[in-house]
Subunit: 280 residues, 2 copies
């Protein structure tokens, strides 16, 4: 197997020092192309997803991004603790993050089991599962980052619905082992969010941005806007995250059917533009 071609290093353009492009923003851009696109644009970081990485091969993907001079800023995602194989899948995800030299594994907790109305029970199981995974993550040098999802996903994707809830769990562990994701899309509506960001401090393991636009589409998953297209005060959130002590990457992560239908390079360029204009 030959090593991937090394993409010539491009100096990081001013303002993009912390910028990371989450590959899900251009869902249909093949891994080799998105990596080349980011490297060619001087983008320093990339957020990856387990499915495309797994299809490409984890070791091979690790070599690809390394050769391109990119840093993997997060791997999405572990979690879904209500599935039968959550333990196996999450241990595998920790290993994949380590292979990718990725310091952060994003955890999306999962929703209620089918037919259940026991929200407290589901939430307790999330905390128990993270306690079980934490030693494995610590051994692998990977931070488990609990991502609260917007409450509209509470029943079917993530019973952790606020940053406060995520911190209630994370604070039981060492900050290097269990942290939180602050994703603007999921937390912007919360009148306690600035208090919770300050509380989070060095627990902030990842910061992701996109924008809130309406009407929401059926299923509400693919309704996110690029930074600047919606009503979230992204700069205020970024400033608060910085003030809490976070100095890490800022990922643009957008799910939108219309955006996904566009050519990857255009989506990357618009993500950079939105970041510079509305986040930085």
């Amino acid at each position: 197997m030959t090593a991937p071609q090394v993409v010539p290093a491009v100096p990081v353009p001013a303002g993009l020092e912390r910028f990371s492009f989450n590959q899900a923003t251009a869902q249909h851009w093949p891994l080799e192309e998105v990596v080349a696109g980011c490297a060619g644009a001087g983008v320093p970081g990339i957020g990856l997803w387990r499915e495309p990485v797994g299809e490409y091969g984890v070791q091979r993907a690790a070599r690809l991004v390394r050769a391109a001079g990119l840093t993997v800023t997060s791997l999405c995602r572990g979690g879904f603790f209500t599935t039968d194989d959550w333990r196996t899948e999450n241990l595998r995800a920790i290993e994949e993050a380590a292979t990718l030299d990725c310091p952060v594994l994003v955890l999306v907790a999962g929703g209620l089991p089918a037919g259940s109305r026991d929200l407290d029970g589901a939430r307790n199981r999330v905390a128990d599962a993270i306690a079980e995974l934490a030693p494995h993550a610590a051994a692998a040098g990977v931070t488990l980052a609990i991502e609260p999802l917007h409450p509209m996903f509470c029943s079917d994707r993530c019973v952790i619905a606020t940053l406060g809830q995520a911190l209630d769990i994370a604070e039981r562990f060492d900050p290097g082992t269990v942290g939180v994701v602050v994703d603007a899309y999921h937390v912007w509506w919360d009148d306690t969010v600035y208090h919770q960001i300050a509380r989070a401090g060095d627990r902030i393991a990842a910061f992701q941005v996109c924008d809130w636009i309406t009407p929401l589409p059926e299923g509400v998953l693919l309704g996110r806007g690029l930074p600047g297209e919606g009503c979230i005060d992204l700069r205020r959130l970024r400033t608060a995250v910085d003030a809490a002590g976070y100095t890490g990457p800022i990922e643009v992560e957008v799910f939108h059917a219309g955006t996904w239908a566009r050519p990857g390079p255009e989506v990357l360029a618009d993500s950079v533009h939105g970041y510079l204009e509305h986040v930085l």
Copy 2:
């Protein structure tokens, strides 16, 4: 003008003493028919909406429900404080509630003004507007009931997204003048909701129930289930509301395109059934 025909009184069936049918649950059932349907089924209360009541005539609607022996448990809705004519519209809504002998006017705050990202500003304007309306409501004997809406409506319908936020505003006023609505659909996901219900105490001016089902439809407004169809622990919420001291009506209020397409009497019967099985 002749008075509407008095519907023969039907004894309230066991278990329905606090039941109220919100007319929006059977959106296309004409007012005279839904009133007759409720009275004929022994349902003691009805929740009304300003639009159909206005079309029928407010005084005439008041006579209709009175003749049927029904209590109007709430009027939806005032609020939308970001519209230009909010003051006129809300003063009119207070007057309409008084005319209907309805003790509760539900307030839905409204979303962000077009193009705005100033969520704090919008929230402050809600509090200011309620302060301005409160003396008028007190004079009319109508309680203004602030309804927190699910955070998925924060940008376009209601910047008040949690019960805690609603109480932060309500607590500035006399409990008889400004209270809150506890609507299961909007608050069930909140890990602080049981604490906030206990805090609310005699501020609970209305309690509404329906169920959370997925996938949410486009626009997310018409995705509510009848009690029992979804994942909300309605009985636990009802028990908490009771424990907080609330002894008032319990309204079934469902917005769902499929439910709206069905004959009103069937929807009423299913609402009663869901209430008896999953709420009481």
